[in-house]
């Protein structure tokens, strides 16, 4: 729940991370999450069930067991539900539509209630604890290049993974959803078992990728040599041909 409180606005996360993060290291993360979780649980479950039956049950079944229209989410866990709802990938307007990132359909309280309900359905993963501000950029970069860059690209711009699937760009990925994605492995993405330190490091580097230094000017190179070549030809060469045309015009 730590991240749930602190995530938006981002500034609050930094404050909480600084104070609570230090405390969490002493008391132990398990205690913290369990303790914070119990407070809202009873109230949320009823609201969550109501929202679930209204918005999710037609595809995922009344107890998350799945239907021909949608997979079982019994073991999706809090992490899976939170990721899907917070990134707007769920709910889908129609079962046949592709999952794409959108503004979330529910507000913060509704998401928390739904997440609590889905988590109660089975033994899915909890929402991972992640504090980007305590992460180490250099270690995060190493983890990112070794595990994430193959699909999401070294610059985080995303790209195809074949078969019509696209690894999305990470420009909107916040630390919480990044951590959830690694735990859950949503869609075609594989799951990872990063420890808490690794998640902090990785989240820190993904944050860095949102605003890396661009000392060289406009960052068109985020899609690499394809954009560069396009510009070289359709800006560079075209301009230079025009310059040659002007230079070589018949003297008067």
């Amino acid at each position: 729940m730590l991240a749930a409180v602190g995530l938006r606005p981002y500034g609050a996360l930094v404050l909480i991370a600084a104070t609570v993060g230090a405390w969490a290291l002493i008391v132990g993360p398990a205690t913290l999450v369990a303790g914070a979780g119990q407070v809202n649980q009873v109230a949320s479950l009823d609201t969550g069930r109501a929202l679930y039956l209204q918005g999710c049950a037609s595809c995922h079944g009344s107890a998350g067991q799945g239907t021909p229209n949608g997979p079982s989410i019994v073991d999706a866990g809090a992490a899976g539900a939170d990721f899907e709802l917070r990134t707007g990938r769920m709910p889908l307007a129609a079962p046949s539509l592709p999952e794409v990132r959108q503004p979330p359909a529910y507000d913060e309280a509704q998401i928390e209630a739904l997440v609590a309900f889905v988590a109660s359905l089975g033994n899915g993963p909890a929402i991972p604890d992640v504090v980007a501000s305590v992460g180490d950029l250099a270690r995060g970069r190493q983890i990112y290049i070794a595990n994430c860059a193959a699909c999401h690209g070294a610059t985080g711009a995303g790209g195809t993974v074949g078969g019509g699937f696209v690894a999305p760009g990470l420009d909107l990925a916040d630390p919480r959803t990044v951590a959830e994605a690694t735990v859950v492995g949503p869609g075609p993405m594989p799951a990872f078992a990063f420890d808490r330190q690794q998640l902090d490091d990785l989240a820190a580097y993904v944050e860095e990728l949102h605003h890396p230094p661009h000392p060289g000017g406009l960052p068109v190179a985020e899609v690499g040599p394809v954009a560069e070549g396009f510009l070289a030809f359709f800006v560079g060469i075209v301009t230079l041909v025009a310059v040659a045309r002007w230079t070589g015009r018949a003297p008067r």
Binding site: A150, F192, A193, G217, P251, R252
Partner: protein, 307 residues
């Protein structure tokens, strides 16, 4: 500058007394164009100012974009000034000249080489050619110093029976590091980061693999290990669609089916990714049962010869 433009055209002087004097070009009026003069002058002044501005920006610590804009103005001012000058202020006289045959006149000995004194000694010419061929062969020797003979390098990797599986930092890999549907790049203990030893350890879960029975035992509890080096052009096969159990190479989009022994299902690759025989130990770590049984990476002409 203004005075200069009213002068008569300058003429080439002859190079030395008594030298053959060529007629100089007939004089042409130098175009009068005060407007163009002002433009050229302004362009040069802009270049001058931008050049010193660039120096100033540099001395103040530098800023790439500002430097580039000032450099552009400096270079562009000079260039545009010269071009406008050439177009508006030079007597651009179209001249015609005769084109002459390129082939040289034959001299009295006939032909350019014209050397019967040499060509008559046919035997010696052949021997000389042979001597140069010998020299060529001798000089080719250093070329073979440039790299080792390929030998068996292409057929083997650092994997050996009993070597533990470690990650890119050299830490021993535990099964808990790879959740269901996850994967990790692993290396033989002692060679972390090895280019030909790089291997993907994938947890597909027990019961899903459809490989040959003898190879099923190489994949304990659904942990299967394939070479990460693409069999097409050698790129790391880094993209994994876990839900479809397919590996994709980002370079040329060769696609491999993890459940069916990493056979290629798309793209230009032909050979499956070789499978590494591994064993899961009771402490949750893995050891290799030997090297890959076929060469990893891209094909070469005698790849099927077994080395």
């Amino acid at each position: 500058m203004n005075d200069r433009t009213t002068e008569r055209p300058e003429r080439m002087r002859r190079s030395a007394p008594g030298d053959r004097q060529e007629p100089d070009p007939p004089p042409l009026a130098i175009p009068e164009n005060p407007m163009a003069e002002r433009i050229v002058g302004a362009a040069f002044v802009a270049a001058l100012l931008a050049g010193f501005g660039l120096l100033g920006v540099y001395l103040l610590g530098g800023q790439t974009q500002v430097e580039a804009i000032l450099l552009t103005i400096c270079l562009g001012g000079i260039g545009a000034g010269i071009i406008v000058w050439s177009q508006a202020l030079l007597p651009n006289r179209i001249v015609s000249e005769t084109r002459h045959p390129l082939r040289s006149e034959p001299d009295e000995e006939g032909g350019v080489l014209a050397a019967p004194a040499i060509t008559r000694r046919t035997m010696l010419i052949r021997l000389m050619a042979a001597a140069f061929a010998g020299l060529g062969a001798a000089l080719a020797i250093p070329v073979f110093s440039l790299g080792p003979a390929p030998g068996r390098d292409l057929f083997v990797t650092p994997w050996r029976s009993g070597l533990r599986l470690v990650d890119d930092q050299g830490a021993v890999v535990h099964r808990d590091q790879i959740p269901m549907g996850g994967l990790l790049t692993v290396f033989p203990d002692g060679s972390p980061g090895s280019a030909d030893g790089q291997t993907l350890l994938i947890n597909v879960g027990a019961g899903l693999l459809q490989v040959a029975p003898d190879r099923l035992s190489w994949a304990p509890e659904g942990f299967v290990a394939y070479s990460k080096v693409c069999t097409h052009a050698g790129c790391p096969v880094g993209l994994y669609r876990a839900s479809l159990h397919s590996l994709i190479c980002p370079c040329h989009q060769s696609t491999f089916d993890v459940l069916r022994g990493a056979v290629p299902t798309g793209g230009p690759a032909v050979r499956p990714l070789p499978q590494l025989p591994i064993k899961l130990q009771s402490d949750g770590t893995f050891v290799a049962l030997g090297d890959f049984t076929e060469p990893v990476g891209p094909s070469f002409w005698n790849i099927h010869s077994g080395g």
